[in-house]
Symmetry: C2
Subunit: 736 residues, 2 copies
């Protein structure tokens, strides 16, 4: 059975490169019977026309699936003209794909039949598993166990089926009879209803599909597997994902980054808020995800993120039907001023340009447009413009070489003009295409009674939208994707100078000695030194006189700060004394700190004080890390203080960070301009900050005991002078 | 002629209260013939069926306008069954409303006919005026002059007409034959095309209109006039405005704030970006507007701002058909998990709550829903839920008293279920309404092939949307509006203690002496003292020894800063010396500053130095003012430094500020939490900051010579301790 896989662990996140190739080949092989079955058994086929068992059979038959269909039903002999079988085992031929629609209580025994019959692929439509909690969850556990042991691949349970629209296959194994148009968009949905809504809307939206999979509770086959399958599928050029969780984020990242280099991946991630997560949990038992981690993941691996269903669908029709724009210059053609203005506003709001046309192009337009027309950009051809005027304007604008994308906005003034205007638009685009002008074209077609008109130019669909603000969002997202795709993949520097053995020992020793908690100041400093990141020189003094000696060695003024792994908010309790100018000031500072701890009854928590030189120049930034149960280490960068805590101006990425990630994090904060020199202050040494981020990524990847890390503040000095970590906290936990 | 107005200046912004009542009454009177004409002359009526002159006549006839229509055309005797007249003057009866569609070149002579015939109201459809520039602008100037002199009211030119759908009137004076449903939404549009798109979409959107006006180039009748008219119009309950400019902002503010207390005003302002303004300028010659000023204006007068056409239409259908929500608790009823999750996400993103239902309500739902249903919130009734299940769930949720709004999300699984599900929804809402439950209900109806279904419960329209994220935005905007409406209007404190005479003299003297430019440090201090705002005590020294004497008087440490009205960026050039601890440090600082100016060849610009005490506590904020040519003074508040300049965390309002404006500005910045106490720092004296804002508003309102003002930084001290202006700059200009 070529289709049967070898039962390897599929969701391993530690897969090396050879394993990657293996899962990839393996997925291609093991998922093929879902998409290219020659024989299908429908277990739970039914004569009741309202039943899913009947409707699935009807869908299979109506889609003209060319293979054999075997309905299984012990209570009848024939359904819809097909002979039925009383059980799977009775079917006289090999079965490539079993579709199961029996009640939940019967599912496990049917799975046993599949094992016995050596069926390689199963779609389990039946609901009543983990999404219902309690007994359903335990049933799902048993199902998962059986599937893992057998090596059968399974889609579902609690799903709505699968479609493969490739002309040689024509498989509709869902319970909707509406078959979408054929095209090259593959869709995977973790919600059946959402999938149904998209699939049934596809005709109206001119969204051509290659295949569709409803994943349900994804007990076995996941989005990650499908991405690997579609990577190899020649019919698929664009991939749409509706997700409620991220399964095995490191593997998703690896696969999506690879696939995304050739085929755009557009994702709508639901459950972005507490309310949404709670809702998602109750319907597919999705694992809660951290919103910031999801955003970071998508940015890191080039996934185009839609924030609403409307944006998801607009991106799908826009990116699957038109080439990607190669620049920011947008031309707008309208027959109505106001909607043209709204369109121009939306372009500017998305960072696009709406440049005036050259005098030459304006003259060319003037030669055939009404004297009332506006010629600069937007080009307003005026309400009653004819077919010829539209054709001429579209062709002139596209062939001007002055734009990277064209948006056409049309308000129908008279219904009878719609046809000629549409014909003019198509003619204009055709003429431009014939002379090799490939800029994307999007249409806002506001013609009541004629809203769903298709615009097709020699097989090329011009996507249409109902509001003039939508195309700008598509263009901006497409440009971001193109920029990501054109850049070389990031690189993870090895940093062979680090002493990971020492770093690890510090953590495990602290855990062994004191259990989970913060490292001491001494431990923290040693660990950071082992990672070769630049600490502000500073030593710990345990008496006032030792502090004075250290200060004399450093040179005045100095800072004196409490050293304690138990007391976290040192500033708030007055345990940070700055700008100390002489011996006596240092002595007083030590004593003041000790007194404060004494008063608070926490003298035991005092490890001493850190004596440091005062830094006066430089910009304060921070680097932080928290470990997410699903995503692993999440590294944050920001300007620190209220910038991170109140204004939320922070960039996050999941580890391992690449050099590209580090560069983008620093440049991605709103306050970045402060790091490039502001009001006479020198710019910051960005390379040093990047290196600090990358070394911390290395650290937390290698030492899973580190659960939290906070370098705050770090002083960024001018270029060439590096940066200095002034304060640091590291927390360790036992691994689970 | 009761309709003829008295020709008063309509756009005067200095109108006092009695004038307000006068323009209000006047507008009601003078605009009445547009909306309630008994006789209409159509000048430029035509037999050519493609012409606007024919189509307008057709619209008038088809709408069953009950009054008399007199077509005017010198070249024919009859059009569409009506006798024509060779000129206006020939019409044997009084004409209430003339609609003019003749070519631009003939318009002025027709206006002369209107004057002769004492026609009180004219709709001028003809284009070719200021929107075409050059000769068109000058023609518009002549038109405006003639209209002003005569007292005729005129809508247009370059417009698309007017509709009044009140049952007794049924007037369609536009050239679209599509008449929208009757309702209580009035629309004014500064773009004909946008207006056309909205009016023709109204049927599909279930948007019932009371009236519609296309304003064109608004040579006479403006949005402001229409607001006053609709304020009194019993058929109008909600007002929609599509704007490309703001005419007479102070008057708009006054009227909109008054009207908005009874009838929500929803505005879509186009030309928000440079690209959009440039596009708007070329099609209706709209005056460029400052985006920040528009946002401020709308916030101040309670206008609900839509940012896209889609939001505009959604708000219109949502607010005109349903009551305003009275709280943030949203219930979601869905038959499909995924769309329910997206809906819950959107609610949370808009700051709404999706609270779990009580055990009692969950039990009530469980008693009739499928065991697979989710009961908490969203309530997921499952794909195949019946009419009864829908009816029961809607009623149970609405009558639970656990929600302030209900969103129903439906994905059609089988087309034949649509009708029963729709019937169930209507039944459920009806049952709830009958027991007095008035929460708003919104519907996301994702049923391909049945998208435009109407949901009407005893005359109440349940608005439907295509995407599950839209209702949350409507609810959030409605709540913001309700909160604005329920608060008492703001108050402008008189501040009788200020010495405006001195303040004014300082400005006019500086202008007379030196011409436009910055006030000197001495002038600035005197002016601010006259306004009774708290300056940091500090005096000007012109020699090092004088500086030392001042420092000794103040007490060390002190700050020494260049005093100069010519040099603006003092910090950048090292002319601000802080933390000076003794006599010698002050002396050195004075000399360093003098040397820097000498080196820069700018010693003449040195007025001396300001010696101030060092402030160590408090939060730094800033207050600024710029004068916009259209909106007048615009006051800004923020945390200063990079918060304003790089992060753009600033709140703006137009003057005069009310106490409510000042309160909202301070609470509106993202960094507000810093002013409420952060990490052990004390909170700030917010009242003192508010007072500073209000006194500066008073200042710039009273003294138009002040063109720019910058109090930066201001140290906000703890509550009860006030604030201190550390640096200030004031610029004066001659008035134009």
């Amino acid at each position: 059975m070529a289709y049967l896989n070898d039962g390897i662990e599929r969701e391993s996140s530690s897969a090396g490169e050879s394993t990657t190739v293996q899962t990839q080949d393996n997925n291609l092989k093991s998922l093929t019977p879902f998409f290219h079955p020659r024989t299908i058994a429908l277990v739970g086929a039914s004569r009741g026309q309202a039943s899913i068992g009947y409707r699935l059979l009807e869908s299979l038959q109506k889609s003209h699936f060319p293979g054999s269909i075997f309905p299984v039903n012990p209570h009848t002999t024939e359904i819809a003209g097909l002979r039925t079988f009383s059980s799977l085992r009775e079917i006289p031929s090999h079965v490539d794909l079993a579709i199961i629609v029996v009640p939940a209580g019967l599912v496990l025994s049917i799975i046993d039949d599949c094992v016995a019959k050596q069926v390689p692929a199963v779609i389990l439509i039946t609901a009543g598993f983990a999404e219902t909690g309690g007994a359903g969850s335990s049933l799902e556990g048993q199902l998962r166990e059986r599937i893992r042991r057998s090596g059968i691949r399974l889609i579902g349970p609690n799903c709505f089926g699968l479609m493969n629209l490739a002309p040689a296959v024509r498989l509709n194994a869902t319970y909707t009879p509406m078959v979408p148009p054929v095209g090259h968009v593959a869709i995977a949905s973790e919600s059946g209803g959402l999938g149904l809504a998209v699939v049934t809307a596809a005709q109206r939206l001119n969204l051509g599909l290659s295949s569709f999979v409803s994943l349900g509770n994804h007990v076995d086959v996941t989005v990650n597997d499908l991405l690997e399958y579609w990577e190899q599928d020649q019919h698929t050029q664009v991939i749409l994902l509706y997700l409620e969780t991220i399964i095995d984020p490191p593997r998703f990242r690896q696969i999506a980054e690879r696939v995304g280099r050739c085929k755009p991946i557009i994702a709508l991630k639901a459950g972005r808020t507490e309310a949404g997560r709670s809702a998602a949990g109750s319907h597919t038992a999705a694992l809660a995800t951290n919103d910031k981690a999801v955003d970071a993941l998508f940015v890191q691996c080039g996934v185009i993120q839609a924030k609403t269903l409307e944006e998801f669908l607009s991106l799908a029709t826009g990116l699957s039907n038109q080439p990607l724009p190669q620049g920011r210059r947008v031309g707008i053609l309208t027959n109505s001023g106001g909607p043209g203005v709204l369109c121009a506003d939306s372009c500017a709001a998305e960072g696009l340009l709406v440049p005036n046309f050259s005098q030459g192009t304006q003259s060319a337009l003037a030669s055939f447009l009404s004297p009332m027309a506006a010629l600069r950009n937007p080009v307003d051809v005026i309400g009653f413009a004819t077919e010829d005027e539209h054709a001429g304007a579209v062709e002139t604008m596209l062939t001007s070489d002055e734009l990277d994308a064209l948006i056409i906005v049309h308000v129908s003034v008279r219904p009878k003009d719609n046809q000629p205007v549409a014909a003019g638009i198509v003619r204009g685009v055709r003429a431009a295409r014939q002379t090799g002008h490939k800029q994307p074209v999007y249409l806002c077609w506001m013609a009541e009674g004629d809203l769903d008109r298709s615009f097709i130019v020699d097989g090329e669909v011009i996507p249409t939208y109902k509001h003039p603000e939508i195309p700008a969002r598509i263009i901006r997202q497409a440009l971001t994707y193109e920029a990501w795709r054109k850049q070389p993949a990031g690189h993870i520097p090895p940093y062979t100078d680090v002493d990971l053995v020492t770093a690890k020992e510090i953590c495990t020793d602290a855990l062994a000695d004191r259990g989970p908690g913060w490292l001491t100041t001494q431990e923290t400093h040693s660990l950071l030194r082992a990672m070769k990141v630049p600490l502000v020189p500073g030593s710990i003094a345990t008496t006032p006189e030792e502090a004075v000696r250290l200060a004399q060695k450093i040179g005045f003024p100095v800072a004196v700060k409490l050293a304690s792994h138990q007391i976290v908010h040192k500033t708030e309790m007055g345990a940070v004394q700055l700008n100390l100018g002489d011996d006596q000031a240092v002595r007083d500072a030590f004593n003041r700190i000790r007194t404060k701890l004494e008063q608070a009854g926490q003298l035991d928590a005092m490890e001493g004080v850190v004596v440091q030189p005062m830094l006066s120049d430089g910009v304060e930034v921070m680097v932080g890390m928290t470990r997410d149960p699903l995503f692993g280490p999440l590294i944050a960068f920001g300007l620190g203080g209220i910038h991170v805590e109140i204004l939320g101006d922070v960039q996050c990425r999941i580890t391992p960070l690449t050099d590209r990630d580090a560069t983008e994090m620093i440049r991605g904060i709103k306050g970045y301009r402060l790091l490039t020199g502001y009001r006479g202050h020198p710019p910051a040494d960005l390379e040093a900050l990047e290196e600090t981020l990358l070394r911390m990524s290395r650290l937390v990847e290698e030492i899973p005991e580190i659960s939290e890390l906070d370098l705050n503040p770090i002083f960024a000095l001018p270029p060439g002078e590096g940066c200095r970590i002034v304060d640091a906290r590291i927390r360790v936990m036992r691994q689970t």
